[in-house]
């Protein structure tokens, strides 16, 4: 089975590359040659990826969340899977290249540096931790997709304001749809984030003797959660529109990424397993 895992690990970046190329070609070529085939490629890539993650779980007897590069692979899967569902639900097919690019980068990093850990701390075999990590990762993929759509919104907004009617104008969906996609991804990301936080707050104190509410990672995550929550409330209560919502989502995303980088690299925390 290790041999099979080795092969799939090599295969996955190429599968994502091929899918990305199909989506990119379809975006730049106005003839819509790959409108259906690109979705099939994404589906096949997702099937290979889920098989890979399951095989890893069976082979190593723990969910693939024990090192950074397993996490990267899950993140690649979560981003592309969330996009796949979004595409199926909305039938907006022109934006895939921008999202799959993230999945491709995550998977390349994962495939290059992934380690096979047979022996891991017991806490990493815990199912609640698995649920906590996976919901947090899905939450991150939600806000990543939201940020990508937010960026696309801003690019199209700028094009429309300056009356530039090129490729962006022709190939992207309307501003209203981009805003909706961005906000809905944000909303889903926020819900999953909340689930991850609830599991974390209820289970972490029992699992870690050195647990502390003043932990930098906890504070950073709570801040990001509060900012996103306030933004979502403003949208619903104060009827925020367009650019304001998008700028808010992008700011939240930048803060989330910064908080993640700072708390995992600079600060000492119990909340680090690798």
């Amino acid at each position: 089975m290790t041999q099979a895992l080795y092969v799939i690990n090599l295969l996955l970046p190429f599968a994502y590359l091929l899918t990305f190329l199909f989506y990119a070609l379809d975006f730049f070529n106005e003839k819509n040659l790959f409108t259906n085939s690109k979705r099939i490629f994404l589906f096949i890539t997702l099937l290979i990826h889920i098989s890979y993650l399951l095989l890893r779980t069976i082979e190593f007897d723990h969910p693939p969340i024990t090192n950074k590069f397993e996490i990267f692979s899950i993140l690649a899967f979560a981003v592309s899977f969330s996009y796949f569902i979004l595409e199926l639900l909305t039938d907006v097919r022109g934006t895939g290249a921008f999202i799959i690019l993230f999945a491709l980068i995550f998977q390349v990093v994962s495939s290059l540096f992934i380690e096979n850990n047979y022996i891991v701390p017991d806490v990493l075999r815990n199912r609640l931790l698995g649920l906590h990590v996976i919901s947090a990762l899905l939450g991150y993929s939600g806000i990543t997709i939201s940020a990508v759509y937010g960026l696309l919104f801003l690019v199209l907004y700028k094009n429309l304001k300056s009356s530039r009617f090129g490729l962006i104008f022709n190939r992207l969906p309307s501003l209203e749809i981009l805003e909706k996609l961005s906000f809905n991804s944000l909303l889903i990301g926020f819900v999953l984030f909340t689930i991850a936080i609830i599991i974390g707050i209820t289970w972490l104190p029992t699992a870690f003797p050195n647990f502390s509410y003043s932990d930098p990672k906890l504070i950073g995550t709570a801040l990001v959660w509060i900012i996103y929550g306030a933004g979502i409330l403003s949208k619903f209560l104060a009827n925020w529109y367009g650019k304001k919502v998008i700028l808010f989502s992008l700011t939240g995303f930048i803060l989330a990424v910064l908080s993640l980088i700072l708390t995992t690299t600079l600060a000492t925390t119990f909340h680090s397993f690798y």
Partner: protein, 430 residues
Amino acid sequence: MNLIGITINHNNSPIEIRESLHLSRNEIVEFIPLLKQVLSEGVVISTCNRTEIFGLPITYSLNTSSIVETLLRYKPVKETKPEFFHKYFSCGAVKHLFKVASGIDSLVIGDSQILGQVKDAFEISEDMGFTGPVFHRLFGTAIKVGKRAIKETAIGEGAVTVSYAAVQVVEKIFSGLDKKSALVIGAGETGELAAINLKDKGISKLTISNRSIERAENLAEKIHGEIIPFQFLNEHLHNFDIIISATSSENFIINYADVASAVKKRRGAPIVLMDIAVPRDIDPDVRKIDNVFYNDMDSLKIIVDQNLQKRRNEIPVVEKIIMEEMVGFFSWYNTLEVVPTIKSLRNFFDEIRNDELDKIKNKISEDDFSKIEDMTRRLIGRILHNPTVKLRELAENGNDIQQVTTKSIILKELFNLNSTNDNGKNIEEK
């Protein structure tokens, strides 16, 4: 094939001549009986940019002057010149008709209306008994070419008028117009076109404002919209997601402050302003306001030019469709010559067989007669198999109608198929 096509269109004649020779539906109905004196089948297509006459002459002559004279007798025009009338014959006429139906010969390439106009013209001729099997097939194929061009190519895609381009931009801002409200300022031709385009796109609420209240009311009635008195225009701007202005005003009728105030009242909700008037109606500085999308004629013209270029790029693809359909049409047409010949040949042999069978019917037993009957049927079937198949193949695959005609004539001559009574019955008697 002795098909003739005569065309007066935007490529070969000035607008005055095209206007003078334009035939309304009623005029076509009056004109067809005159054409019947020179044509056995025919169709007259007349739009604001072209008048086309397609027909099969009663005689085998391809003289077009009688058709042109008939037209000029019906619609006398003083300053015509021969070069205003382009003539096409046979294959050229078929190709021209297919080009017209597909929209690649239109003034605005890919014009979607022309296909309907070709259909209507054919229906008039059909109703007046001026079409036969050839024109049924010809116009059926022309309509198929038009439909394929729309379905398989991008010849009809994209906005090619400024008012439609305005709607295209609006669709890049809002996902659907079914919950949006629009205001059209100006009830002239451009304003009306913009209002109709918005209506066609399913706009939820459409309002008209015009200096002359009567014209606003007329247009509002036409598109089932509402009106706002022109003097109160600026007080209502915030109620609309889309504002299209097309008046002949010399000064701005919507200023920066008006839009800024409207956006404030809308609490930042996007507002689209399309200024399709010359000189402009809306202060272009409004584009600096957040969530305000402003476009004027110049910027919308960019979209129109891009789309026209895209349509021009599709012409070779449409021409390929035309070629495919022409091959199909002429394959069918060529079989017209051979089908009666094959039928006559088979009848000729069957008659001989029946004559000979009659002669022996009472001389042999029923059982033997039945065997001979079967044997002769098989015999004739085998004798005629190769000539039938070859002739059919030649007609279906060959593009040389002359060759098909020559072989048909030789067969008819050799077996004297034109004479119904001469099947060699009396040879023995002679």
